[in-house]
């Protein structure tokens, strides 16, 4: 491409060697090439000026573009600089960590679980000045940390590691004093259970979910913390506390009395449930031994889970509870019109059924009224009543009382408390279930079933949430039957096996049960489960209280006594004596 090629004016320019001037120059003896050179120079200048003027505009355009570009970058930079910084948290990819777990309160708004600001300790080994010293000092502050392992972590090329999930202010100061810039603190919240082990099994425990250096997700790991985890963490709830049906004072009192009773009765464990018979609200539920949810122990990996303090005997422990079941047979027979409380029942033992012989623990008359069968706790009598009912109706009745499936309580462990029921409900099963063997339920089941029988006859489903009105449960027995049941339960206390509960201050009704625990080679006479299922006040019950002692032995007499009447009944009575005033019940007389 030549210069002339893009010069539109090339055609009309004067020629490089204008003939007239060349000839004139030749005649004058001058060099005609000079003329050509001059012409060339002129034309060259012309193209240059043209290119220059065009370039001038384009250069200004370029300069303008660059200035605009720099201004755009500066403006954008200013917009970003003016916006709020957000720490890039590698752990939190999607939605941010929401760090407002709602409190849990008892029925009166007293705190059962709340949050507390703390710090996590983490390390960025790359920023460490002296990893050896840091590891040594940390191992001194936190004896459970291994110095060698810390040093390996600090020098092994890791960029980040958690050292402790939460530390106390004193520990934080001690770590500050190490003065290593690679040791850092991440603020976060921890769950605090200010009452320590009170209601530990109900509350459960917590752990950390997603963790960032600026916050960490507190998540429930057991109990209601886990069951209501979504509700407690839901921002839409606005941190509204979760009100349980538990009464903190009653709960603490019951735990105290049970603990004392466990010691006096030399029991391995104890469980107690106090429930409102109208609403199904669990006012107190305890299982001993217990634990501190602030420092929840690790679950057992070997052996029997029931040996762990984490095991909730009141809800998870399913046992053959024995004689406390007799009232179900009696109630159903009354409700079906098969008997009335004064109907005489054949109680001469032993009752044989195939290979099995059913006997009573002590001598009984040959015939007893239904009320006396309950009061004196005759196995043979209860079996005979159950025989009248038959397997199909018995099973339907126990199912209606909720005794054949797990209680739908608002705890994540609730399904593990499912009853053990014979798959083949034979005639023999009917007899044994009549006096509480051949079926394993938890004390919680028992509480619900007793409540359903004595509250006028409508089904009660236990709940841990505070209720505003009574449940309108389906009818289980008639109101008349319910009244007769209450009367019979009262007679157990006044004339029967639970005489220790016959105190003046409160009218208690109830039924004892002493079940031999199954072991290797059959039932063991010396290993009992003593239960007292009580209702109070007896005429118009408002609460049902179940107290179960595991392998109690009362040793004040010449012979060790293991029956519920001597073990569970006094403990339950003491519980009632202590909690009834707290529940607003007026004593009816003096003790």
């Amino acid at each position: 491409m030549s210069a002339a090629g893009f010069d539109p004016g090339a055609g009309v320019r004067s020629p490089l060697r204008p003939l007239a001037r060349i000839l004139r120059a030749r005649e004058a003896g001058e060099n005609p090439d000079l003329i050509e050179a001059e012409q060339r120079r002129r034309r060259h200048e012309a193209t240059r000026d043209k290119a220059r003027s065009r370039a001038q505009f384009r250069l200004m355009l370029l300069a303008f573009t660059f200035v605009a570009g720099f201004i755009a970058i500066g403006g954008r930079m200013a917009i970003i600089a003016a916006s709020i910084a957000e720490e890039p948290v590698a752990e939190a990819t999607g939605n941010p960590i929401i760090n407002q777990r709602a409190d849990i309160t008892d029925r009166n708004g007293r705190i059962l679980a709340t949050n507390f600001d703390t710090h996590a300790l983490y390390a960025q080994p790359r920023q460490m000045v002296n990893p050896e010293r840091a590891a040594t000092e940390l191992a001194r502050i936190f004896p459970e940390l291994d110095q060698g392992r810390l040093l390996r972590d600090f020098t092994g090329g890791r960029t980040f590691l958690w050292i402790r999930r939460q530390i106390s202010p004193e520990q934080m100061q001690a770590v500050h004093d190490i003065g290593d810039p690679g040791l850092l603190f991440g603020p976060r919240e921890m769950r605090l259970y200010p009452n320590g082990p009170v209601a530990a099994h109900i509350l459960g425990g917590y752990g950390y979910g997603r963790e960032g250096v600026n916050s960490a997700e507190v998540i429930g790991t057991a109990g209601v913390e886990r069951f209501f985890d979504t509700r407690l963490r839901d921002p839409a709830e606005g941190g509204e506390p979760l009100a349980l049906s538990i009464d903190l004072t009653v709960q603490a009192t019951m735990e105290e009395v049970l603990d004392g009773g466990m010691v006096v009765m030399n029991a391995r464990g104890a469980a107690g449930i106090l429930m409102d018979v109208q609403t199904g609200e669990i006012v107190a539920m305890a299982s001993l031994p217990d634990f501190d949810p602030n420092n929840r122990p690790a679950p057992l990996t070997t052996g029997d889970a029931a040996d762990s303090p984490l095991f909730n005997r009141a809800m998870q422990g399913v046992y053959e509870l024995g004689s406390v079941f007799k009232i179900f047979a009696a109630a159903q027979a009354l409700d079906l019109g098969l008997v009335n409380p004064e109907t005489m029942i054949e109680t001469r033992g032993p009752l044989t059924w195939g290979r099995f012989r059913i006997t009573d623990s002590h001598a009984m008359p040959n015939q007893m009224t239904v009320a006396d069968v309950i009061a004196e706790s005759s196995n043979v009598g209860a079996a005979r009543i159950a025989q009248m009912i038959g397997p199909v109706r018995q099973r339907a009745f126990l199912t209606a009382l909720g005794l054949t499936e797990a209680v739908p309580l608002q705890m994540v462990e609730a399904p593990t408390g499912a009853p053990i029921v014979q798959s083949n409900w034979s005639d023999l099963t009917t007899l044994t279930v009549g006096f509480g063997h051949g079926i394993s339920v938890s004390p919680l089941h028992l509480a619900a079933a007793y409540a359903s029988l004595v509250n006028g006859g409508t089904r009660v489903v236990p709940t841990l949430l505070r209720q505003d009105r009574p449940l309108a449960g389906e009818r289980v027995v008639s109101a008349e039957t319910s009244a007769q049941v209450r009367m019979m339960l009262r007679r157990v206390v006044t004339d029967g096996t639970a005489s220790f509960a016959n105190i003046g201050a409160y009218a208690i009704g109830g039924k004892t049960g002493t079940a031999e625990k199954p072991g290797r080679g059959g039932y063991q006479a010396n290993r009992n489960l003593a239960t007292f299922a009580s209702v109070f006040p007896a005429e118009a019950p408002r609460y049902v209280l179940i107290v179960t002692l595991d392998e109690p032995v009362e040793t004040s007499g010449p012979q060790p006594r293991r029956t519920a009447g001597w073990t569970a009944v006094p403990v339950a009575t003491e519980v009632i004596r202590r909690v009834a005033p707290l529940l607003g019940l007026r004593p009816t007389g003096t003790d």
Partner: protein, 389 residues
């Protein structure tokens, strides 16, 4: 004879070199470049200790190296700025030939430093990236060819320079080094634009660039990933851009304070491609705006001075050098604020660059030489002869 010598002022053939240089040089641009270099050292103090720590070197190892190479670069800049445009042209062409040879030898003698692209020669004490030295040479030779093409009966310089550009870009893409290839393409485009490209052709070229870009997107995963990252609606906080954005936010208007920045620990390229993020975090928007202003002053002053330039070669070469310098800065900072897709490009004179800062010094030295005040055949040149060179 005696009186002719005695007492007379010795006649000078020409002005002394240094005073004339001082009188004719664009002192504003030079001052801006010196300030930029100082800012670079300042930021190097902040940004490079993490790198030194990672490589097990003394904390200010890279600052010292930057100071040494920067000193060499400033010497090169001063030396080149004293040359005449003719000398610049000659050296530029020779330099281009040498750098081109080195570029050809890269596949056999070069190293990739484990970064996936063979771009460097390792010299032991320093590495050497031929494409950095190729750029000023390429601009000079292209300007020469295009200026010659404007001459009456000149060679077809545009066609030749186009072929040369294609060759160089092809070599760079093979490395692959799309950044440098794009810069070469841009430099040629600017020269062609200022040399008088027909508007229709410009439109066609723009179309071709778009086509080439989409081709590269489909054929190179390396390239595609960066574009995808840019087009994604949300900034992933774990990417370099995410950290850079956060650093700018943290810095705010006045910065978090000297040495208080955190981003340099998380960004592997904090001392090179994302040096502006370090600047924004530690010194705030204020320093960023100062840096932007410095680049803007350099490019605008150079272009405005070139507007008056009569010699086509000087004008073209100066324009090419100034625009390449500016566009490199613009891409670097545009990436950090996410106006442009992530493309590794250093901030001239500010980023840590080892030997490449010498190449930048040479380029700026050439620019200063080409923007020196010269008589432009204007009436002012004659009237104000006493004041100008």
């Amino acid at each position: 004879m005696t009186e002719m010598v005695y007492g007379s002022v010795p006649a000078q053939a020409a002005d002394p070199i240094l005073p004339r240089w001082w009188r004719t040089i664009d002192r504003w641009t030079m001052a801006c470049i010196l300030i930029l270099f100082a800012v670079g050292l300042l930021l190097g103090l902040a940004a490079s200790p993490p790198l030194a720590a990672r490589n097990g070197l003394p904390p200010f190892y890279y600052v010292e190296r930057q100071a040494i190479f920067g000193g060499l670069a400033l010497i090169a800049m001063l030396a080149f700025s004293m040359m005449s445009p003719q000398t610049v042209r000659r050296l530029g062409v020779l330099g281009f030939v040498a750098a081109f040879g080195a570029l050809l030898a890269l596949p056999f003698l070069g190293t990739d430093f484990g970064k996936g692209a063979v771009r460097w020669f390792s010299l032991g004490f320093a590495s050497f990236q031929p494409s950095e030295f190729l750029k000023p040479g390429f601009i000079v030779i292209t300007a020469w060819l295009m200026a010659a093409a404007q001459d009456f009966d000149g060679p077809p310089g545009r066609l030749w320079s186009f072929g040369l550009m294609g060759l160089v870009v092809a070599l760079l893409v093979m490395q692959p080094d799309f950044g440098q290839a794009a810069l070469i393409l841009f430099a040629w485009g600017v020269l062609y634009f200022v040399a008088g490209a027909p508007m229709t052709l410009l439109v066609v070229i723009a179309g071709l660039v778009a086509f080439g870009g989409s081709l590269a997107y489909q054929s190179s995963e390396h390239f595609a990933r960066r574009i995808d990252g840019f087009l994604a609606a949300d900034v992933d906080p774990r990417t370099q851009i995410g950290y850079a954005t956060n650093a700018i936010q943290e810095g705010g208007f006045f910065g978090v304070g000297v040495g208080e920045g955190e981003v340099k620990w998380s960004l592997p390229d904090a001392h090179t491609d994302f040096i502006i993020a370090v600047a924004a975090e530690e010194y705030g928007l204020v320093l960023v705006l100062v840096i932007l202003a410095l680049f803007a002053v350099i490019v605008v002053r150079s272009l405005v001075r070139l507007v008056r330039e009569r010699d086509p070669f000087t004008r073209l070469a100066g324009t090419g050098l100034a625009c390449t310098f500016a566009v490199q800065a613009m891409v670097n900072m545009g990436v950090a604020v996410r106006l442009l897709p992530a493309k590794g490009m250093t901030l001239p004179f500010v980023s840590y660059g080892g030997s490449s800062i010498i190449a930048a010094g040479i380029a700026v030295g050439m620019l200063l030489a080409l923007t020196r005040t010269r008589p432009q055949g204007e009436i002012g040149d004659i009237l104000l002869r006493g004041r100008r060179g």
